[in-house]
């Protein structure tokens, strides 16, 4: 009898010991995604939170403002994050130890209008347009396209900036803004809740027309802290695989993804499901699309050098496989 | 020779109280035009209140004041009450601009300043003047102002003896050339004796008239050492002490 209780005691002790040993080894990885398209592509992961590697706990956070995201990356709070691609370049060029791991989605920007007076970029002359993401892709490309059509962004139009697409979308729905630049899925959301709106201009079309390229512009990126890539390369490899799988799943299952969208990123399920086909979701690891990314960044560099941090990021920017 | 002057104004049974404190307990008298009338009394007996009522700054609780409607008056206070940011001449024109202008204004200012021997200081700011000089400017202002009545509330109180008598002389000089009815409130019998045609001695609160005296000697001929004046002074002091 005593032998058995001793054995039981010993086994429990071993269990506890192994548990504490494992606990000491457990690392937490903070993954932060922006609400909006990048959030969309991560929905399955947000919902299921699969264990990718034992001993590594993953925390997912949805952030609504690119400003906040930027702060979290600089402070090191975010280990893996989605950001506009140009912001990734700025961070890298300014010595923040992050690298580009993948592009999560390509161009998804549109200009919507309450009415039907705008049929070409030149029709924007003299109008007031709500733009989100000052200093990031939607803003820079918008001004680039205006210039390409002979309009001076500072004199010929009135640009009113809003910190995040969420606010601009709500104002559009309320009818307080007449013309706005918005990404999907917000475009569909706005049009479904305020039928007066329609898509009048398409960034992607314009990019293709002006740049004569097959691939759209690399809008959103997934970055990782270099420290993480060095300490847990296996984990990272598996994570990227999971992210790609999640991305593909969302594209193939828009209805189910829509349901998840309602819970995690607060976009109505109907709008999300409808928007997904237009979201240009294509997960591509950085090393494979380096040329496209460089082309896009070079374009931004030529138009507004500060938008990518003053220079093209070097080789080290792109995470090697 | 005493001229028979018409009545300037009259007070009938004036009373005034501040809360429970009865300050004036039924005063009646009349003042004739161009006479200098002095009100003598212990400090705090309500003399200033009396002047305020006559000036229209306050209203009596009962009784009536007749003849003060539409009368312009000048006021000379115990403190000079000059505006620090205006020059001496500026202080005079501050009150005079409403009544005079242009050359007439300048001439009148200069005339009165000269007679107060302050003309040299016409462009000086009050902060640079002594107390006595400031009171001279205030007096020039009060006299320059074309008024029917001049009310003076202990104007010589804060001056030392030498300055006091100097100022009294200057005042009498100007008053003689441009007579007007003058009410003088003071606690100093000597001032009253030098200046007044009539003297009312007032009691403590509630103030009532305790004594009345007339002086027929013209001011210019009075000396403090005159026997008659000295005797009158004794009488007045006795009245003042017996409260």
């Amino acid at each position: 009898m005593r032998k058995r209780s001793l054995l039981a005691f010993f086994l429990v002790g071993l269990l506890l010991l192994s548990n504490t040993l494992m606990a000491r080894e457990e690392t937490t990885v903070e993954v932060m995604v922006l609400s909006g398209v990048t959030g969309l592509s991560f929905l399955p992961l947000l919902e299921e939170k699969p264990v990718i590697e034992p001993g590594i706990k993953i925390n997912y956070t949805v952030i609504s403002s690119p400003d906040q995201m930027r702060a979290k990356i600089i402070s090191g709070e975010a280990d893996i994050a989605t950001v506009p691609t140009n912001l990734a370049a700025i961070l890298y060029n300014n010595g923040i130890p992050v690298q580009l791991a993948a592009i999560t989605n390509w161009g998804v920007m549109y200009v919507v209008e309450q009415g039907s007076r705008i049929n070409s970029w030149t029709d924007l002359r003299g109008k007031t347009i709500g733009v989100t993401g000052k200093g990031s892709t939607p803003d820079i490309l918008f001004r680039y396209f205006l210039t390409a059509h002979g309009l001076d962004p500072e004199r010929d139009v009135q640009i009113q900036y809003y910190p995040t697409p969420v606010e601009l979308a709500h104002l559009a729905i309320a009818g307080k803004v007449e013309i706005a630049t918005l990404p999907e899925p917000w475009v569909t959301e706005v049009m479904s809740r305020n039928p007066g709106f329609r898509v009048c201009l398409d960034y992607q079309e314009e990019w293709e027309r002006l740049e004569q390229r097959k691939e759209s512009y690399a809008q959103s990126a997934l970055v990782v802290q270099t420290a993480l890539a060095q300490k847990h390369p296996d984990f990272l490899r598996k994570f990227l695989q999971q992210a790609e799988a999640a991305n593909n799943w969302v594209v193939k299952n828009p209805a189910a993804a829509g349901e998840l969208a309602k819970t995690h990123i607060m976009i109505s399920d109907a709008a999300a499901s409808a928007a997904i086909p237009r979201c240009n979701l294509r997960f591509k690891e950085a090393a494979t699309v380096k040329a496209e990314v460089e082309y896009y960044l070079a374009k931004l560099l030529s138009f507004q050098p500060q938008s990518i941090g003053g220079k093209l990021p070097d080789e080290g920017f792109y995470l090697q496989k | 020779m005493i001229a028979i002057n018409p009545i300037e104004f009259r007070l009938n049974r004036i009373t005034k109280a501040y809360g429970k404190l009865q300050v004036l307990g039924g005063l009646s008298f009349e003042v004739k035009t161009d006479r200098i009338v002095a009100f003598l009394g212990p400090s705090g007996c309500g003399k200033t209140t009396l002047l305020s009522l006559i000036a229209g700054l306050k209203t009596p609780d009962s009784g009536e004041i007749l003849g003060m409607e539409n009368k312009t008056l000048s006021y000379l206070f115990q403190e000079p009450r000059l505006l620090d940011w205006l020059t001496v001449a500026g202080n005079l024109s501050f009150v005079l601009k409403g009544r005079l202008s242009g050359e007439e204004l300048t001439k009148r200012i200069d005339y009165y300043l000269q007679h107060m021997e302050m003309l040299a200081y016409r462009n000086v700011y009050p902060r640079r003047l002594s107390g006595g000089q400031r009171q001279r400017v205030a007096m020039a202002r009060a006299l320059a102002y074309p008024s029917r009545l001049l009310l003076m509330d202990e104007p010589f109180k804060s001056l030392d003896l030498g300055l006091k008598y100097e100022l009294i002389n200057r005042f009498l000089g100007l008053w003689a050339s441009e007579p007007r009815t003058v009410l003088l409130v003071t606690h100093d019998p000597k001032e009253a004796l030098l200046l007044a045609d009539e003297i009312y001695v007032l009691s403590e609160k509630p103030a009532q008239i305790k004594g009345y005296h007339q002086i027929s000697v013209p001011q210019a001929q009075r000396q403090l050492t005159d026997l008659a004046l000295l005797q009158l002074e004794q009488e007045i002091i006795r009245e003042l002490i017996e409260q």
């Binding site: 930027r70 | 000036a55 008056l73 009450r81 501050f94 409403g98």
Partner: protein
């Protein structure tokens, strides 16, 4: 007299030198330019700013709006202050409004104005609201301090109301007005820039500061900050010299 001002100037210079040295050391500690740029880099950016054309456009836009806002505050403050001082019922009437405005944090005002107005108007509106109570308060207090004996004098000598205001009240409140104006002007620039950062008018220093922040150009943010400090100092000196000559000349 000369020796002591010379000494004071040396001390000021020394103090500034210590400040810059401390800054340089801290920058070196921080390492990255986007966290804390060194004085040298900041200065380079400043020179770059001063030589660019768009700098002057943004500067003049902010200056124009700032001075307009301040000017409005000044005149409205003077008016309401005078009214309040001359008629106590007015003062009682305005008191709760002024208290409410003064207690509201500037940022709250900016955010609310953002909902109601367009960006340019937001900056003007907020600047006006923040500075106006200061002027009013100062004028009101100055009027209260006017010697009641002088007021009585003016009444007895039947001086007209307009002249009492012009020749008695205005000079009397001048020192208070000057203090209020100096405080208000300093605050104008602070609030104006904050409002510009949030409201983002097309032209403005705050807008440019915000843009620099978004692009992580911290050195540029510092450079703009120095510009604003210079503006504030410049106008403060201007105000002081204008008023010193007219103030207390009678002492």
């Amino acid at each position: 007299m000369k020796a002591s001002t010379c000494k004071n100037n040396l001390i000021t210079l020394g103090s500034l030198l210590v400040l810059v040295l401390g800054w340089a050391l801290a920058a070196k500690q921080a390492g990255k330019e986007i966290i804390l740029p060194s004085p040298l880099v900041t200065f380079q950016h400043l020179l770059g700013l001063l030589s660019s054309a768009h700098f002057w456009r943004h500067l003049s836009a902010t200056l124009l709006r700032g001075l307009t806002g301040f000017g409005l505050s000044f005149f409205m403050g003077l008016l309401i202050g005078l009214l309040s001082g001359l008629h106590p019922p007015f003062k009682t009437f305005f008191q709760p409004w002024l208290t409410a405005i003064r207690s509201t944090p500037s940022m709250a005002l900016i955010l609310l104005a953002l909902i109601w107005f367009k960006s340019n108007a937001v900056t003007l509106f907020v600047t006006f609201l923040v500075v106006f109570p200061i002027i009013t308060q100062n004028v009101s207090e100055g009027l209260q301090q006017v010697d009641p004996q002088l007021k009585e004098l003016a009444r007895l000598y039947q001086v007209s109301t307009s002249r009492v205001i012009r020749e008695m009240y205005l000079p009397a409140i001048l020192p208070y007005l000057a203090t209020g104006a100096a405080a208000g002007l300093g605050l104008t620039w602070k609030v104006m820039i904050a409002a510009e950062v949030v409201a983002n008018p097309p032209l403005g220093i705050g807008t440019q500061m915000d843009l620099a922040r978004i692009f992580l150009q911290t050195a540029e943010v510092f450079a703009w900050t120095i510009v604003v400090i210079m503006i504030s100092l410049f106008f403060d000196r201007l105000l002081t010299s204008l008023l010193r000559r007219r103030l207390f000349y009678w002492e």
